[in-house]
Structure formats: structure tokens, C-alpha cells
Symmetry: D2
Subunit: 166 residues, 4 copies
């Protein structure tokens, strides 16, 4: 597993994790990622590079979007990568990555409630995923609900909003 | 490492993690642990048993208190144990456990700001520690600041309030 | 003005004030009002009766809905009434009431951000409106942005999301 | 009563309202006032001047401190003044002011839980007090627990932590 303080890259892609509420029109939208604020809150002392790749709802992701995420994973100098992502098609992006990347530890996570709202799982998931990205062997994983799943055996249960093995 | 959904035991011992503010006398004190509420917030789906061993400031811990924690670790049927603990003497308890227990994965964590207050690192640390307790091999560890430390090489830096290797 | 501890009635009609986020479908919806929790947070010691009349977005209010609110105001034994209401058509309901009721102090308030989210103005507005309902003479008012407005001279500025005199 | 948008002065004196938690030594202390952030959260559009007179626990207030607050009230160009103050000796300061100032509306408020913590009554009390300072006739008042009290008939109940008439 990773020696303490190995370099980690965080790729931001959007999702409910980073959504905000627009009080003028009552809709949810994206502004800036909250990840630095969350890492500050967690008093995180890891060596982290943050890169915003896109800020979209994962239901709006195209094949090109997922290829862009894949390319960013390949281009990253780090072999430990955390990806924040919408939960709706997180398993699809994980599969695109899992089939192509086998020399890095990549962990995807997200949130069911925007971090900007009360009662968010975002901070918990971020801590969880950052630990898995340090401790798991090379491979592509989803970290949600306190657990980790291999990319080849995971789906989102749309009734419960939780992740499970297939 | 742990197969998904291995049973995990959480031993509660107090610390800033679970402190609350008494509005009548302006002091911090312990009531009930907040851990179930935090696990609910994180939408955690792990198989977890929670046990409150004590609720004290770790500066007030005696040798007997640490022996009690040790005994609870030995008695637990699970081989994955998370301990919430005050940060001030967390490394001491980790050493007591590390010298005696080698057939379990034990992770100690805590918080610098009470979970009951805003801006707490508690939820992040809980997610982080729960992931390490699943993924790390048998041994005793501290999980703080997003990282993990072996019990034999960790101390709390009292100026910065963060943990580091010795 | 009201002698301390005069009886106050709160009529709940919905609006952004009481909206919540549905994590399964990503939409905002109504469950139960949060007003008791908010009064508890404020350590409010007023003599208050709470009545949920409806839980709707004020953009969805019909003439019948506003007539129902009016009827509840007339039927209430109290002469101090606070109404939580969506901000979009709050001025319209205030006008319906203002033209018909002149023997009570009625104050409408709401929120631009749901109380259930972080960064809400709900708690501030509730404290503000409760004070105005005790201190203002009989009449119908809107309390938003820390101020009060007479029903006959107020509108919501849809660009800024704040209330102002016409 | 005040015409909308009359100028209001806020005098900051400290108290639990503005206390913060020091994570290094576990104590409560004062840094900067949070009042601008709270007024922003409330989307407050009043014409307000903010002045920090002192930042102390009201149990530590001396006669000189109260005289300084009195002098600031007299010197203020505004005739509407809100004072944030510790709750423990708020009634004493109110009495000092009440005996000397009769040409202004002065309202004292505070909080039982620091605004910086979760579950604070601070935002509610601020909204409440700002409304009373606009609506009440000249005099000195305490605004707590959703109510207002004349300076000559109020005390803090130290068992319940609430304010009541004597």
C-alpha cells in the first residue's frame, strides 16, 4: 500500500457533491468546487494536487466526458487518484477506467446530499475515499456508504440511493 | 485486507470527538456519543457494533482506563476495531494496544473540534478511520489528518494540533 | 404594542422556508415543517400555537389557497399572527389579507434558502418576524431582509431576491 | 416607531455570542465578531454601522467597561442602538443604560450558544433584536428568548438560562 504522504491527485468532475442552491431561481447549479474547504475542515495533511476537469451532473456525461476523465488519469504523474463524481453514472465511469488503467489506484466517490447543504455525506465520503486511495492496491474502485467496491462488481441501487455489489 | 462487509466494532472512549457545550455553565461536557448520527449522515452501510467503554477526556485517562480499552479489544469477537479517543493521549493508548494485540486491525481516531460544533473534523476522520480499519493489515494504527500512522511511530504535535511520525 | 407573552399563532403555508432536498431524485419537496425545531434553537419562550394550513410553493398558490389563509386568520382566536410563506407571491397574499383584516397584527415571512440547507436566512427571518408581530400595531406586514413593509407598499425584486417598497 | 431604513448602530461587546473554540488548548476565546457574516446570512438590508467596543465575557465586565458602553451609546449619532453582550450580566448593563439614556431605543441581546457552534440561538436573537430596535419606542430593553423586556424589569434565570421578568 502507499507509504505515508505519497502524492495524491484529486480530479473534480461535479455531481451532487459540489452542487449549490441558487436562491434566485430555486435550482441547483455548479459554481466552484468545495474540496479545498472540505480538506481544511478535515485538517488533512496529505500531499494533494487538485484539478477540476469538469463540473457536471453525471446524468449529462457523454462518452467524450468519460474519455477526458480517463485521459486525465493516464496523464497524471501520481499513481493515487481520487475522483469526485455524480453518483448516477459513477459505475459507468469506473468501468471505462477499470478496463484501461491497471497501474494506478483510482477511487471514485461522490455524495447523495450536496456538501453545501446540511446533513451531507460528502465530508464522510471524502475522508473514506482518501483513505482507500492510500491503502488499496492498484485498481479502480468506488467508495460510497463507508465501503469500497471493485469497478467490475458495483451498481447504484436507485431505490435506496446506496451502492451495492451486483 | 477485509472482505467487504466484514464486521467492525467501534469502541467509544470520549475525547473532543464527543464533547458538547453546556450553555448553563459555559463548559464542555459529555452526554451521549454522536456516532450513530454521524454514521447515518455518512449513509454508512457497514456491519458495525457500537460499544461505549467510557466518555472521558484522554488527559484524564489512567492506566486502568487504558487496560480496560485493551481488554475490550481482546474480548471483541471482531478482528476490525475502531476506537474514538481524545487526541491528547491517543498515542499512549495506541502503544498499550500495539504491544499486546497483533491479531486484529485496530485504528484509533478522534477530533480536534467537537462534532457537535460547526467546522468539525470528526465526520471526515470517522470516514477515514473506517476505511483504514477495513483496508489495513493487522496492527494498531492512528488515523488523523487524512493519514494513518503505525502505533510505534506517531506523536501529536502540540503546537500545530496535528499528528506526525516521530 | 403587545404585552409580553401575548398569544401568537403561526400559520405554516410552505415556501422555500420549509423545503427539503430529496436525495433519491435530486428535487426539492415538502415533508414536515421545521418550525418547532427552529423555535427550540432560538430558545423561544413565547406562547405560540402552530398550525399547518398547507405546504406548497407560493408560485402554485391559487385564489382558493389565499382565501383559505385569510379564513384561518379570521378564525384564529389570537390577534397576533405570523405566516410562513413562499417569497414569490408573498406580497399577493399580504394584499388579500390587508384588504380584509384590520383588527389583527399579521406578519408574513419566508426564506430565500431552505432552513434545511446551510446558509439559510430562515432562522434570522423567524426571529425578526416574531418580534415585529409583537411590536407592530394592527395591520398586515411583510418581514424580510431585517425590515418590515406594509402590505400596501411592498414587492419582491426578482433580480436581487430582496424585498423593497414599490 | 422607526421609519424603514432608519440608521442603526450595533455595538459589539463580546459574550458567548461571539466566542470561538480553540482546538489547541480546548478553551473558548474571542477572535473577531461574526456579526457581518450573520447579517449576510440573514440577507439583512438595514442601514447598519458596526462598532466593536470590547470582546469580553460579561462576567469579567467592570464598572468602567459598562461606563464605556454607556458613553458609546451617548456618542452615537443614531437613536437606534443594538448591543451584543454576554447574557450573565446583561441586565446590569441594561440598568446602567436605562437610568441614563431616555432619548434612544437601545436593545441588548446575546446568545446562550456561541454562533460559531451548531445549534446556536445567535442568529434568531439577532433577527429578533434588530426588529425590536426598529419598532420599540425610546427606552432600554433586553431581547432574548423571542421576547423583549424593559431594563427595569428583567433578570436572567441562572437555572434555566432564560430571561424573565422579576
Amino acid at each position: 500500500m502507499a507509504k505515508p504522504n505519497m502524492k495524491i491527485r484529486i480530479l473534480i468532475t461535479g455531481g451532487t457533491f459540489d452542487k449549490e442552491y441558487d436562491e434566485i431561481n430555486g435550482k441547483l447549479f455548479f459554481k466552484d468546487t468545495h474540496i479545498q474547504e472540505m480538506l481544511r475542515l478535515g485538517r488533512c495533511r496529505l500531499d494533494i494536487q487538485i484539478q477540476t476537469v469538469m463540473m457536471i451532473d453525471s446524468l449529462d456525461m457523454s462518452q467524450e466526458d468519460r474519455q477526458l476523465i480517463l485521459q486525465n488519469c493516464k496523464d497524471a504523474p501520481e499513481d493515487r487518484i481520487l475522483i469526485t463524481h455524480g453518483t448516477d453514472t459513477m459505475a459507468e465511469t469506473a468501468a471505462v477506467l477499470g478496463k484501461e488503467v491497471n497501474n494506478k489506484t483510482i477511487v471514485l466517490t461522490g455524495a447523495m446530499i450536496p456538501y453545501a447543504f446540511g446533513s451531507s455525506d460528502g465530508l464522510f465520503n471524502l475522508g473514506s475515499a482518501l483513505s482507500f486511495v492510500q491503502a488499496l492496491p492498484h485498481g479502480v474502485y468506488i467508495a460510497m456508504n463507508g465501503r469500497y467496491f471493485s469497478w467490475s462488481n458495483v451498481r447504484k441501487n436507485r431505490q435506496t440511493g446506496t451502492f451495492e455489489e451486483m
